[in-house]
């Protein structure tokens, strides 16, 4: 058996489990519907959006907001419930008998759980943007990609935390609940951070939040919130890149921890 074969076997099995017919189709339908129904281009008409980059940012953000919750639901289901039930039922134990290293097994599981959903999400979203507004998307493709990178960082952080919890607890239920709580908590924490920043006239609270959720820094850079908040903190473009980079370093570190735990510590 070639080296690639067992990996493909595990990947195929994981995809089959994660996207049983018609789950993938339902999520594709929801992505497409959510993208078009909740898109709101009128936000790009506000006076604050003076540059083409700001217009591209606001238009992309309006499209993301609807489908991001569907994306998070899908990764919650795949990472916490899918991997959790595989651990509980002993399917992972069966995979360990394959001539494949443990990190290969986890890579196959994550490619199925996150890779396929990310591919579907970005494929539908960018196609929808191109259908609706090609003259916004094509000249500002860099801004569009940056907006997606900033907005996807926090869902990926939740996925990494859920992965760690699922591996440590060997069941998905708690990871699933923690994932939902973390997602809801971020909007509450952001609200509090804005209040603290405004009250103390210091951007520190917003800067701390931006390290784990860089979409906030990008929003402030493009003047997404009102001028009052922009006067407290308006990060430069290079600062935004730094926050996005830092957030992905944290996400990558958590995934590496997950890999290390799965490869060395997971005893089944």
């Amino acid at each position: 058996m070639g080296k690639g074969k067992p990996f493909l076997e595990v990947l195929a099995s994981a995809v089959h489990e994660d996207y049983r017919f018609p789950f993938l189709e339902i999520f594709a339908f929801l992505y497409a519907l959510g993208t078009f129904v909740l898109a709101n281009f009128t936000v790009g008409m506000t006076a604050q959006n003076t540059t083409n980059e700001a217009v591209a940012y606001t238009v992309t953000t309006s499209l993301i907001s609807g489908s991001l919750i569907v994306f998070i639901l899908l990764i919650l289901k795949n990472v916490a419930y899918g991997l959790g039930s595989d651990l509980e039922k002993g399917i992972i134990q069966t995979y360990f008998s394959y001539p494949l290293k443990r990190h290969g097994i986890l890579t196959a599981k994550l490619l199925s759980a996150l890779g396929v959903s990310l591919l579907l999400f970005l494929g539908i979203q960018i196609s929808a943007l191109y259908i609706l507004a090609p003259d916004i998307v094509l000249p500002q493709f860099g801004t569009v990609i940056l907006t997606y990178a900033a907005n996807l960082s926090y869902p990926l952080l939740i996925a990494a935390i859920m992965l760690l919890m699922t591996l440590i607890l060997r069941r998905g239920g708690i990871g699933l609940v923690v994932g939902i709580v973390l997602y809801v908590a971020m909007s509450i924490i952001s609200g509090i951070a804005f209040f603290i920043a405004f009250a103390t006239e210091s951007p520190l609270a917003l800067q701390i939040i931006s390290v784990i959720s860089p979409s906030l820094a990008l929003q402030q850079h493009y003047g997404g919130m009102s001028d009052i908040f922009s006067s407290v903190w308006a990060p430069t473009f290079s600062e935004v890149i730094l926050y996005i980079g830092a957030s992905y370093v944290i996400v990558a570190s958590l995934f590496v921890l997950g890999y290390v735990y799965f490869s060395r510590r997971l005893n089944l």
Binding site: A12, Y19, F21, P22, L24, E25, I26, A28, F29, L30, A32, L33, F36, V37, A39, N40, F41, T42, G44, M45, V55, V59, L120, I124, I131, L132, A133, P134, D135, I136
Partner: protein
Amino acid sequence: MSRRTTILGRGGTVLIAISLALFLVSLIPSYQLGGGDGITEVPARTFSPLDRSPPNFPAPLTFYYDTILTPQQELELQLSANGTITAYILEVNAYTIIDWIREQQGSAQDLNVTRLEEFLGEHPNSIGWQQEINKETIKHTYIPTKITNVTIVYSNPSSENILVNHSYREISSLAPGNKVLNIALWTTPIGFILAIPWLAELWKQRKHK
């Protein structure tokens, strides 16, 4: 069942699911944001933006049509003229043209046709649509592909004054209905072609069990 059949089949069913969503989006009705009817008089060898001044508006003052449209909005236009004119939809504000001419010429408002041609020569990307009207009624639906200013301009190179009747409607929708419907109509058969072998195999397996 071969892996290739499964991958193609699932790809096909995903395409069908996306097409269904697009069909649904195209069925959601649009609504009218604004609109108007009226007449613009275009003097000989001049151009004029669509004039939407009310009937008793004081003579030297004009109330040109210009607006901002997004890709989720469209402009339905119906025009007729008693002579030959060229109608343009320009992706600029009406006063951008007038101010540009004023800057170039250093004179007061000059609406000569050649000034418009000079402006269009300098800004070819501002033309969203253009059509010659020769004593006929034309209909056009304009859907912008970006967030843009929109103004309607008539150019009359002839030596006679021409009256242009206009009727315009600004429509708002979730997505350009025809475009979305066309994509759905193309992707649905492709989805079925890809999915049928997989669905047939699935059916056979179920029957066998």
